[in-house]
Point group: C2
Chain length 691, copies 2
């Protein structure tokens, strides 16, 4: 690294009197984003961020409180300043695009604690054209080996009272709807109280919110505040101080109130800001991935994006049960054979089966440790014969490991469980963490659990197994490092369509790409073709609040290498023409164009199939109907494509007429412009096949 570059990058920040010395500044490669770091006269370290010369973060504190050794790391001497620049391109194993550019300038500050502890640390800033990441690093040193973080003091002081998309801060659940208010109007406890259908909530307090947190400034700048590469550290929630518009890191505590146990050399996750005045660019950002480490899997040839059906939704809507007792056990051999037949007939890779193993009769809400063993099927479920049957038909079973939060139990049995999968030729597992965590006192978001999720990814990779984790902590781009970790839930997914209180609002899926999906693929389980959920229980008033065409479009707007066709075979067989889109839509892409988007309103995305010339488009809207114009200039010039449009019928409406769709074929070129009409709660899915 060289200091000459730093000089080059020094920017004319307005010098605030706060700074005891001239702040150290760095700008992004295209100079749109600038970060300035400095010490106050008291020795406190602050940073600030500007975008196109507008303040994004006012000077905001950096630092820690350690409980072992008991030191407040808040006043520093700067002992070194290094800067560098990197511009590289890398190829993900799978993804929205086939290659990703990682282009940033970097500032590395070396710091010495002024309190006399002798502790040195570093802060590393990476400034991209679409945002900023910074993290703390604790080098190996005599003054600090094993240490305990009591609190991370990092602040994000906003420049104005922005409109904000937020969820209540919660140590155990990220399955909330998003709220949209001014920042100063956050009221997390009231919002959480409205959520009656979340089984386990550990709400932090009235002014605590989750990340990713999305702001839209008065002059149209979108800011996503998040974290990347969350490893060996708890989730960062944020505590809001309304008078100063300041958000302070609120790390998730463990059973005894500590936040993190670290050993030098150590580092925190990256604290990230994605910043753009174009909503579409924010959606397209690869900043989170770029801040993660490269893949640890040398030979990823066994990792395969996939689509699956499964024994799951019929339990949610009351046709069947997970547990054996009661006479409606879903995962019986005959029933699952039908799913295998259906998957084979329509070309799906996998069949998920929930409720297959002993333990379901005795798990929910019991906080029981020794619950599932992950290798004992119910007596009416013959897995041996089913895996053989599926194999004949070219379909793979997908394993389900519901832990019920009893993670100590899972860790004891994980080797045996993965060995059982290997024996059965099953190479994908959906994991689940419903309920309070064991070790008791830990949370879904605490450091111990973050390490657990990573251990699962590592161990699964040893067994060549792919992971789809549910009820896990929010993803932060670790699928780059562990590409066998295909997807996670970690948000309110389609299952909430059957939740009686708030359900899935029409706008929810237009917010997800701006928030949760920035961290990684989601197993949202779209594809519901029946909208009133009283098929097997006439008393149910729950319903799906989209049109059918929007359900199809979600396969494009919600990126994941693992997509479920979530509805029942019999519901698909009533609409085989529309079902064709789910059969055709890929789960891996060479390219992605975010064409139009506004959080809470609409999303329009085009993606090019991996290794093929075909494109797919998804357009979705919130509760309002909308007309979007679609220029096809992303298609290859001079070629003709057959466009198959799956669109809302003119009289479609999520509320009154959700099943009204039209399938229309057109011949188009790159010069064609389409006008897409989306119904209230509607959408449009389009396949472009190159001729």
């Amino acid at each position: 690294m060289t200091n000459s570059l730093l000089t080059l990058l020094l920017l004319g920040f307005s010098l605030v009197s706060l700074f005891a010395q001239q702040p150290i500044s760095i700008t992004s490669p295209n100079r749109s984003i600038a970060v300035a770091v400095g010490l106050t006269s008291a020795g406190e370290l602050t940073y600030q961020v500007r975008y196109k010369n507008k303040p994004i973060l006012e000077p905001s504190r950096l630092g820690f409180a350690l409980s072992k050794p008991q030191v407040a790391l808040t006043r520093f001497t700067i002992t070194g300043v290094d800067s560098t620049r990197r511009d590289e391109t890398w190829k993900p194993v799978w993804g929205e695009v086939s290659q990703i550019r990682n282009h940033y300038t970097e500032l590395l500050l070396s710091l010495q604690d002024k309190s006399g502890s002798g502790i040195s640390l570093r802060v590393r800033f990476r400034v991209f054209d679409d945002g900023v990441g910074f993290r703390y690093e604790f080098p190996q040193q005599m003054a600090l080996t094993h240490f305990i973080i009591a609190d991370e003091l990092t602040q994000f002081r906003l420049a104005a009272d922005h409109r904000t998309f937020w969820m209540p801060g919660d140590y155990d659940s990220n399955e909330y709807l998003y709220n949209f208010t001014r920042l100063t109007e956050v009221d997390a406890v009231t919002a959480a109280d409205k959520e009656k259908d979340t089984a386990l909530k550990t709400v932090i307090g009235p002014n605590a919110v989750q990340t990713p947190l999305l702001f839209k400034t008065a002059d149209g700048v979108y800011i996503s505040l998040y974290e990347a590469a969350l490893r060996n550290y708890p989730v960062m929630h944020l505590q809001l101080d309304k008078p100063t518009l300041t958000l302070t890191a609120q790390l998730v505590p463990d059973a005894v109130g500590n936040k993190a146990y670290l050993q030098t050399p150590a580092q925190t996750p990256w604290r990230t800001l994605i910043i753009s005045d174009k909503a579409t660019d924010l959606l397209a950002s690869k900043l989170i991935l770029n801040l993660n480490e490269p893949s640890t899997i040398a030979d990823p040839s066994w990792i395969r994006p996939q689509k699956f059906v499964g024994m799951w939704w019929e339990m949610h809507i009351g046709k069947a049960t997970w547990e054996k007792a009661g006479g409606k056990h879903g995962a019986n051999t005959q029933n699952v054979k039908k799913y295998i037949d259906f998957a084979a007939r329509y070309g799906f890779d996998g069949v998920l089966v929930e409720g297959w193993n002993v333990g379901w009769e005795d798990w929910f809400g019991n906080w029981k440790e020794d619950v599932f063993d992950f290798v004992t099927p119910y007596p009416d479920y013959n897995l041996d014969s089913l895996t053989a049957y599926a194999q004949q038909k070219g379909v793979r079973m997908i394993m389900h490991h519901e832990t019920s939060g009893s993670v100590t139990n899972y860790e004891r049995r994980m080797d045996a469980a993965f060995q059982y999968m290997n024996k059965q030729g099953i190479n994908t597992v959906k994991t689940g963490y419903v309920g309070r965590i064991i070790p008791r006192g830990e949370h879904h978001d605490s450091q111990w659990m973050i390490n657990h999720y990573e251990r699962v990814a590592q161990k699964a990779a040893q067994y060549r197994i792919m992971i789809d984790s549910h009820e896990s902590a929010h993803p932060t781009g670790l699928h780059r490092t562990y590409p066998n970790w295909l997807a996670s839930e970690a948000a309110r997914g389609s299952e909430f369509n059957n939740a009686p209180t708030l359900g899935i609002t029409p706008e929810h899926t237009t917010i997800l790409p701006f928030t949760r999906l920035l961290g990684g693929p989601m197993d949202f389980t779209p594809g519901l073709f029946r909208f009133k959920l009283d098929q097997f229980d006439k008393t149910r008033t729950t319903r799906v609040r989209t049109t059918l065409a929007k359900q199809l479009a979600l396969y494009v707007t919600i990126y994941s290498p693992l997509q479920m066709a979530a509805d029942l075979p019999e519901n698909y067989e009533k609409h085989l023409d529309a079902f064709q889109f789910i059969r055709d839509v890929p789960v891996d892409w060479d390219d992605t164009k975010v064409l139009a988007a506004e959080p809470g309103d609409y999303v329009l995305i085009a993606r090019k199939e991996k290794g093929a010339a075909n494109w797919y488009v998804g357009a979705i809207t919130d509760e309002n109907s909308r007309d979007l114009s679609l220029s096809l200039n992303f298609l290859e010039a001079g070629k003709t494509y057959e466009a198959v449009l799956y669109r809302d019928a003119p009289n479609a409406d999520w509320d009154t007429n959700p099943e009204a769709y039209v399938i229309e074929k057109k011949s188009v070129t790159a010069k064609t412009k389409l006008s897409l009409h989306l119904a209230n709660g509607g959408g449009c899915a389009i396949q472009f096949i190159r001729r």
Copy 2:
């Protein structure tokens, strides 16, 4: 079961007006002990105990507070009374005696909670001639499936302010010296504060004490208050209310303050009282073992009592280090070969090696989770070659698994660790739990850890591995159920001879048999032949406060199927004549006679070698010299024995002349009477070889 027996057993208890109805009474087979149970007019359930018509426990409450469901189980209706009697004999896999009589009367009370919860439970009393055990049982029932115990309300209300041997109540350590005061003079915090050498203390409070707790009444009755068959439940400590002389169960909480998570059918451990007016009978009691379940190991042929030497004491006294760095690493191949040679030369079964594996450089006090992997030797330690070398010489290595309290880590790695032992042909492991427990918030004595220790015993049995657990919870007779769990430390052992503050007092080993040893074998590691511990560090003032002869006698007075010869080979080689006793003394017995004993003063025990005609005697005293007469009527009548006495020399004294011993041979018969002179802090060990 029959009620007629109950009628038979009804005893003329003086009816206290407290009882709303006539109390239900039961007596031991020989009628020396009587228990009466009844309801107060408010519906509270109490029990009382009498011994030879003297009150042992005044009416004492029984009951629970549950937190899930939230119910106080304190007022009951008696819905059933059953009684039975059993008289059987069983054979332990190994032990102090070759067969054990289990002879008791039983009273089973069925109870219905009066608060309206619908919960039913039972209390089962077993009354032996040498004591009482009772436990709670929660049958499977609609009204109660999964439940959480907030508090066990069991009380023990004593009849007088007895002289008491007690240790401070502590959730993490049982390595205290015993205090001897009136019950009302208990001051646990002050006592604990004096203990400077215990690395981890979690003292409960000024009036909390541990079990086993020993009382001696004014009229000479000895009472041991303890528990048996501690499984799936936390350790019971006791909270003292001085004005009422009442001890109340204080269960060890978990990370969130709960005490136990149970699922019906469930039961508590037995709460036990061993009662006798003969101290020797209390020591000989098999009540704790009788209240445990039979062995779960169908083929115990691989379980072998054994003696061992090892790489251990030289670390304590500063000759070597556990960790690799620093140039004094003990567990190097050459050094360990010397121990193997020594073990082979003198006929020891095993060689323990501590500090053999990577991790010691980075463990103590760091509360680090991912610390040892249990399969990676230090580079200077060639385990492969050593196990082969040992095998040639007819010696087995003993494995060491120090967890440093990181139990989640150990559980993850246990299978690999035991597989590694199988591969190396090592069939015994010393486990260690030094330091704060992970899962953080758990304690050495909490339910989660109690389950862990049992899981280790179970899993080890699957691998045909024997266990010697250190820093584990107090044993409660589970070695009957898991005879591969040979021994545990779970008390202040010989290593404290090197502790600078209090060390091992001369009286300590005369109290252990009346307290800790009632629960099971202890790996005390006796056999120290050098008394000033400045051999390798001239600044050390620590010392062993016994005579050499007493060190030998401890092999008889401290029963264990696993005994270490703890000192360095070079120290033994200076006293090979005395060392001969350690070589000869068995670790498994056909019979045991406790001939004389007084807690805190002296112990005299004779044991007959398993499968042989020879007898061994151990006699020890506290700091006072003592003359004990020894009638040899336990020897086979009409036979002649050669007695080899290892006794204190006339001028021996633990303080001034500990190494002065005399070895004397005599021809004796069953009619011989010996007079044994024990020096201050002295002892005598005798071998009787039948001619």
